[in-house]
Symmetry: C3
Subunit: 205 residues, 3 copies
């Protein structure tokens, strides 16, 4: 199969922007779990801004896609990747908004661990996405993101089981269960990104 | 790019039917939040009927799609739009069933607000979908549906946070949290409809 | 429309493997609801193994898809079907892990009923998928899977409503509500499989 020389490479730039945006969001989430609720309002406001930045990038990609005739990678992969990156940012914000609105005083140790897994996944997303144009060393980052998702899954399962065990107030159980689930869904969304990147890389070999 | 003159325009008719069906469903949901539980069983039965009507329309679209060679808009967009419209109707019914089965006595003010946002979104869906064939004035309705989804998101987030604040019974918290979330997911599904319509409109310009 | 004689029929073999894997998983889930928690750890370990087997089959399908030029059925249908079958297995395991980690002592009658519906759906999936290559008698199994999903939906709705009625401990309500929802989502995933198979069958007629 031959390949037309792609004319429009701007997509890779947009993907890299979306990935760094996610990385910054993940850093803010980690800060929230480390500092406690002293700066929750402020951190959450920052995450709302980052979410809007992400929305704009997604719209730019989709608009460009609809006006581009020859794309460097499959049209549907561009669309899915844009949506998947957007989902990651939305879920980081959704985790933060829950901690803030539910008036969490001190994030649990498990929330801290999950935020760190999200941060590491975000770092791997940046690496995978910035290697996507050259299709170089993409796979190892995708594998790592999958490993991190499994880790988040285990942490959140154990954390939720603990909530039931330790005689907590039902209200706290409801709040924390949802926060853990939202953080875990964030790593699921990271895995979706990895799966799309992996499939793009496989097609190109 | 030239366009083959489309032969099969029946799709637009089906989409309009699905949209009016949703609008009728949204009206019933608003009634439920206004009247209280006196007519819950009856209203819910009506919504089950409307859900079945929606299912039939979806199946007709997919069957026609599988037998049509030249479609007026992209095949995948027809499929996605049919599924997205179906999801909206399903989630309206899912909101109603929860109020009924959980034996809610008096829907909260916030449930009323969310039902109104769903009704307004349904009205915009009708307008967007009926303009789709002429590709006329579609965008403004999509933008409005997005705005309404943001509004529903805020109402439901605040409503859930309030549940934790006001010393409610844990059982009520669990019930209402799920009802608010289901109503909010309904507006998410409306947004999915808007995004597909927007993307169809963008491709045609 | 003519059809190129398909070269690569291995996809059907993989789909059949994924389907039998699901069937074995469903059997283990039924055992868990029948035996009570005496063997939970062991059964869950078995389901984790089956989940890994499922993951491998999914990866094999996607890898083969990316390297195959002429596919016996539409590329996207192969991809969607692989993902949908994987989702069923994941949700069977997710139901089991919740019963285990939440230290359920005696699965409820409703959990038993839902597990049986999942088992019957799995049996229909095996039949539908093994008929897919010959496109023979596929539809009746898809219709049955849809019927079973409706049944699971009703069982789980009633079961959750009962949780609120019968003066249960809030913790138990939270646990069982999630288990019922996860089991119901398993039948939703079975329905996704049926919908894809149905659409493949419709295209081929």
């Amino acid at each position: 199969m031959f390949r037309l020389i792609p004319r429009e490479e701007k997509f890779f730039e947009f993907f890299e922007k979306a990935a760094s945006n996610i990385l910054e969001g993940a850093r803010v989430l980690v800060q929230m779990t480390e500092e406690g609720n002293v700066n929750f309002q402020e951190r959450w406001k920052r995450l709302e801004e980052l979410e809007h930045v992400g929305d704009k990038i997604t719209h730019q990609i989709i608009r460009k896609l609809n006006r581009t005739f020859i794309t460097p990678i499959d049209r549907e992969d561009i669309h899915s990747l844009a949506v998947a990156l957007d989902d990651v940012m939305d879920l980081i914000e959704a985790s933060a908004v829950r901690m803030t609105l539910y008036k969490i005083k001190q994030p649990t140790e498990e929330a801290g661990k999950l935020a760190m897994v999200i941060l590491k996944s975000a770092e791997e997303i940046v690496k995978a996405v910035s290697n996507l144009e050259r299709m170089d060393d993409v796979m190892e980052h995708c594998i790592e993101i999958n490993r991190l998702e499994n880790m988040a899954d285990e942490i959140s399962r154990e954390a939720i089981a603990d909530l039931f065990d330790k005689g907590h107030d039902p209200m706290d159980v409801i709040k924390w269960k949802e926060i853990y689930e939202t953080m875990e869904m964030t790593t699921d969304a990271c895995e979706d990104v990895a799966n799309i990147v992996e499939s793009v890389a496989l097609k190109s070999t």
